[in-house]
């Protein structure tokens, strides 16, 4: 070869080598999208997901590009949002029960995109579900409530009568009854996950009916502020709500979705993602607890701590017989524990809860 040709060939090969290296080193980052039912500022349910997403970004770093869409209503509009996200993302997490059917529909139309639906039960080849065993946390909260209540009336602010909420009510009630056989549970339904005004009204109504410990299955910190104002107790829901209830908050369930999100996004990066149904509880670190209130007496605190350890080791299951259904029919025999299917489809109160079951 002539000198000139050789030098151009050399330059070209150097260029190729450089390009090959830079092209190969940066793999395509995973594009992950999250659909939220409320604002991240709710300091409850959605805030917990947002915290987990921040954890995801910290751990996985540049290998993930995250999109978060807040306050998506659980109606046909959610299908539109999920579809537009499916066009541009590799994996989509929909974080509320009501997104189940829209997610399933979009998952069928976009078989190459992976979907993860929280708290639901429809799965597909590209649609996974994940659910946290909140009822384990509620059981512990119940033990605290049963020990701290003076009026023996607990109040529950319910959103929608889906199995998850019914399960949590039953679990908390059983936990309270195990330390205080005289306790009763009053339940009101406000048909929304997030409406601070209505949550406050519900809290006031329950207090007027005699409740001195409040549970909430809604997303804002309104009930905690009402509890604080009235000098009664409440539990933080999905996030630590101590700021709004320094005296009122006995403890709370803190949702910890971070590890799961990291695991799933990593699976997409590694190409090992398959459709799964994952259930995580206290043992897996998905359900954590807010620090206990200083005013809780030693014996009550002990009972709750022991319950946490027992659940973690598997020595206790919140739903262990003998338990009857609300109408008296036997459900669990002595020592028998509820199956996962029974829990996921629960649509009855346990014996001892006086409220009429919502239809």
């Amino acid at each position: 070869m002539s000198n000139r040709r050789f030098s151009s060939f050399l330059k070209l090969s150097v260029l190729c080598v450089v390009l090959a290296f830079t092209g190969g080193v940066s793999a395509d980052p995973v594009k992950a999208a999250f659909v939220y039912i409320g604002p991240t500022g709710d300091h409850g349910w959605t805030y917990a997901h947002h915290r987990a997403v921040n954890h995801l970004k910290e751990v996985v770093g540049d290998d993930v590009i995250v999109t978060e869409v807040e306050s998506v209503a659980e109606n046909s509009d959610s299908e539109r949002v999920i579809t537009s996200l499916a066009r541009k993302n590799d994996i989509i997490f929909t974080t509320s029960f009501g997104y189940m059917n829209p997610t399933a529909k979009v998952a069928k139309r976009y078989p190459d995109v992976k979907f993860e639906h929280a708290t639901g039960y429809i799965r597909g080849d590209n649609l996974s579900t994940y659910q946290a065993k909140f009822y384990e946390g509620r059981h512990v909260m119940g033990k605290l409530a049963g020990g701290m209540t003076k009026s023996n009336v607990m109040g529950w602010i319910g959103s929608f009568p889906i199995p998850e909420v019914i399960r949590d009510i039953n679990s908390a009630y059983l936990g309270a009854k195990s330390v205080n056989p005289d306790v009763e549970m009053k339940i009101v339904w406000i048909n929304t996950w997030f409406d601070p005004g209505k949550e406050a009204d519900a809290a006031n109504a329950l207090i007027a009916q005699g409740a001195d410990v409040l549970f909430q299955h809604t997303d804002s910190s309104a009930a905690m502020t009402i509890a604080e104002e009235n000098g009664i107790y409440s539990f933080g829901q999905a996030s630590n709500m101590r700021e709004w209830g320094p005296n009122a908050q006995l403890s709370g369930i803190v949702n910890n979705w971070g590890p799961y999100y990291v695991e799933r996004v990593q699976a997409v990066l590694d190409g090992t993602w398959t459709s799964t149904d994952t259930l995580g509880g206290v043992k897996e670190g998905w359900v954590k607890f807010a620090p206990m209130n200083n005013n809780i007496p030693f014996d009550v605190r002990n009972a709750a701590s022991k319950a946490i350890i027992d659940i973690m080791t598997g020595a206790t299951h919140p739903f262990t017989g003998p338990i009857n259904k609300q109408d008296g029919t036997p459900w669990l025999a002595e020592g028998e524990t509820a199956t996962i299917d029974e829990l996921m489809g629960m649509q009855f109160y346990v014996e001892g809860i006086d409220s009429q079951f919502p239809n």
Binding site: G41, D195, A208, S355, Q356
Partner: protein, 309 residues
Amino acid sequence: MNEGLFINIIIGISVASAPLIFAAIGELLVERSGVLNLGVEGMMIVGALMGFVVQFHTESYFLAVLAGLFAGVVISSIFAFLTQFLLTNQVATGLALTLFGLGFSAFVGKGYTEESIQLIAAVDIPFLSDIPLIGPLLFSFNPLVYLAFFMVYVVWHFLFKTKQGLILRAIGDNHDAAHAIGHKVVLYRFMAILFGGAMAGLGGAFLTLVQVPIWGEGMTAGRGWIALGLVVFASWLPFRVILGAILFGGITILQLHAQGFNIRISAQYLSMLPYLATIVILVALRIRLKNKTNRTVPNCLGRIFHSTT
């Protein structure tokens, strides 16, 4: 049911209906002048945010209430400018105002979701609240609730007992004739819109200053729309606004207490009730149109006024 619970229910209803009274009485005046402002929800939520923010920073209830009022005025002035000077379609502009208010408040409020404030406490009027039975029932409300009732009286007095109120009503019924006589249609409407904004802002501030001491985006949750329906339900008569607000606001409270008593009323039916009642009233108004001319839709409601002279 004991007396304490009964009083608690009455107080609960007063807190639930006061924001509706404020927003509806303001919108009533606006609609009486012939302008249809659908932006009530947007004005309310901006008032809610500003009341919360100012209370958080200054811890002065007086300034917080003024801030809510002022926020409503500023937001509604955009609407007033667009519809009265640029002659835009009132329905479209009002809807745009709602969307703008919701988005703007969510954006500005991002930094305040972690905070909480002290609510305005109810007051016991000395002497009067000591009267047995009715004392604690009627004279222990929150000061802003009394203000709401007072504003209804003010609007009634203005509309039906003053000359300016008469002119405003005339403008609402026939703006061309009013203009021909020499009244300043645009000025009256502009002032009415600002008043409506002030009241809506006050209604919104009531939420964060009296009902629940936190800020959450979208927390008015449709109360603005209920207020709009309330104006129709009240047949554009001020004192009927109170009746309607107690009905609409009270439904939620009663439903919650009914659940506590194990009386099962489907929540969906109760949520429908305000809107169904409004439709029924509208139909009844058309039927009675030929009898009472005072209790009907202001003739020029929603029509653009374009003076050619």
